[in-house]
Amino acid sequence: MKFFNLLQKELKELINAQMIMGFVLVMVLFFVLSSVMTDTISEAVKQEYNITISDQDDTEFTRNMLSELEKDGNHIRRIDTEGDDYAAFLKDNDLKGLVIIPKGFTESIESSDKPEIISIISMKSASMMSNLNTENSGTIEVLRKYISDSYSENLGISDDDIEFMEKPVTITEKTVVNDRWADVSASSVTGRIMLQSAILPIIIFILIIMTSQMLVNAIATEKIDKTLETLLSAPVSRTAIIGAKMLAAAIVAMLQAVVYTVGFSTLMAKSMFSVSGDMMSNMETMSDEVTNAMSEATGSLMSVSEGMTRLGLSLSIADYLLVGVQLFLTILICLSVSIMLGALVNDSKSSQTIMLPLMMAAMIPYFISLFADVNSMPMALRVLIYAIPFTHTFTAMPNLMFGHNGVFWFGIIYQLLFFLVCMFFALKLFNSDKILTVSLNFGQKSKLRKNQKQYTDE
């Protein structure tokens, strides 16, 4: 009953307007991000066949070639240009891209020289999405086809011959994981895993930081506002007080994890779906080759999940439960470390600084898990990185996928031991005088010594 009273108070303090505002902000951020992504991609996809061409050669061949382009349902805008002031061409006509058929184009074709087509793209930033301008490449692809068709007609070569020459070998890709293999390419498996597990590390990172910050603040605020002494002198055990604080932080952390996971994955799914939807609708206006290539791509993408199951890369329910257990241990570690950190805080400034070690301990494995494989690092470095308990949380899923079960179980045991040791010291600290006397003053004199000095001076 008394514990419930404490828990209720802690929960009320954590679940406040600020936190709900934070939730709403994160959701809005997800929403804006996903719609920006969707818009940029669909715009890029839609623009594909809105073509601007400057036909400097202007012969019967080029005119026929362009009208062929128009037959496919593409809208062609023709402009006149002269010289090589490419920047001015784009600026004057307010264009993002332009294809120029230069003078002497037809002549080159007739003399069987390689003709030239100039493609100009305006670059405004280095961001991946903003340069997704397939306008020119699409146009050039169609022009190339037209030209090679006209060559083959002149030389009397069939389409099949061309296809054979273009692809003289069939490459069948197989991927091997441990002792299993499947008919999928390694790159498509990597792509799929990246897509699947992009969310988890972010959630883990947010959870570690949020949980720790919550508990550090909960303890630090009690110390700063001097409510802790009142609480400790009440007829409740210190273990109950700290237990209520930990449980409340854990409950709120879990709540956050659920909200973020649901929000993140639905919005990811939404943006992925709308992009592929746009692509599908655009396919109708595209030429056959493009459509074929597209469906080929989707076809192979679909077989990736099959391939992954065959490779043993799909996680079973038991695996997900294990990842869940590890996530729980991670939160417990955060909580026990936070008790100690919170106890060191005596003013609001240091409650921010004190988070630094935890931030680093979460950040290092987070970035490493994004860019590198810890298991293939040199021994010394691997030991160092696995010594950070949170590393095991970030590597849990890939370790289970690729059958590094030994490393995974070592991680669980290590985390459990780490938690027990931290909890032991946290409880010891909280049950001793130190909870009231210890402080990190960052170079300042402790209050006690200051008072003592003042007293001696008097």
Binding site: M1, K2, N5, L6, K9, K12, E13, N16, D225, K226, T227, E229, T230, L231, L232, S233, A234, P235, V236, S237, S432, D433, L436, T437, L448, R449, N451, Q452, Q454, Y455, E458
Partner: protein
């Protein structure tokens, strides 16, 4: 009559400072006892040891028959403690705070209500109890905390600097409440203050403490007579001079 508090040679050694050195005194039921001395004299350390917040390095104190060393949990059931410059949870309402604190002292809803009603009548905050504590003035917070400290009629209420930082009117009101509860309800109080003139009005007996040593205890009038002094401040000056402490 059995003492509410018996302090027997209580000492606290910090890493470099001996904050309390063999402090001994006692408090009878219905008595207001005040520890007086300058900042850093060891008042708060002594009080924190009696409140079971700090463990003494030597000596013991018996609160309502229970040792602070052997039975700290029982001691906490017999006392309430109001720390120096204490705050309350800013996001709670006054009434919410009283409910929360009452819930720590009892699990019986009927008794909890009694406590809250009593606190309400003592602090006189009325409708303002429904507002967030964050909007309270210092005087209001102090009244709220004092009413909390006495709402369950503890055997001993320990108040560290109960009026520090308050304006004269608020300070007088707090002092009156303490005096009334001791006189009418036979509650015992252990106070601390560095304001010796003020404490003269409220306490029955005082203990003068400096540099961790409790130099002398006695009734205010008796001490003034013994040291031939006008007020407690002069008593303090002479006691310190006699003991060559400063």
């Amino acid at each position: 009559m059995e003492k509410v508090l018996e302090v027997k040679g209580l000492s606290k050694q910090y890493a470099k400072v001996l904050a309390a050195d063999k402090v001994s005194f006692d408090i009878s039921p219905g008595e207001i006892f005040a520890l007086i001395g300058p900042n850093g004299a060891g008042k708060t350390t002594t009080i924190r040891m009696i409140s079971t917040l700090l463990t003494p390095t030597d000596g013991d104190a018996i609160v309502a028959g229970y040792s602070i060393k052997k039975d700290p949990a029982k001691v906490r059931e017999s006392i309430t403690y109001l720390p120096d410059e204490a705050g309350a949870y800013k996001t709670m309402t006054g009434i919410g705070y009283l409910k929360f604190m009452a819930g720590l002292f009892t699990s019986d809803p009927k008794q909890m209500n009694e406590y809250i009603e009593r606190a309400k009548s003592i602090n006189g905050l009325g409708e303002r109890l429904n507002d967030k504590i964050g909007s309270y003035s210092r005087g209001m917070i102090r009244k709220l905390l004092l009413s909390r400290a006495v709402m369950n009629r503890p055997k001993l209420a320990i108040l560290d600097e109960p009026t520090s930082g308050l304006d004269v009117l608020n300070a007088i009101e707090i002092r009156k409440t303490i005096k009334r509860l001791a006189a009418e309800e036979k509650m015992s109080f252990l106070l601390s203050s560095h304001n010796m003139l003020e404490i003269e009005f409220v306490s029955d007996r005082v203990g003068i403490i400096a540099k961790g040593h409790l130099l002398v205890t006695g009734a205010t009038a008796e001490l003034k007579e013994r040291y031939n002094a006008e007020n407690l401040e002069e008593v303090f000056e002479r006691v310190v001079k006699d003991n060559e402490i400063l």
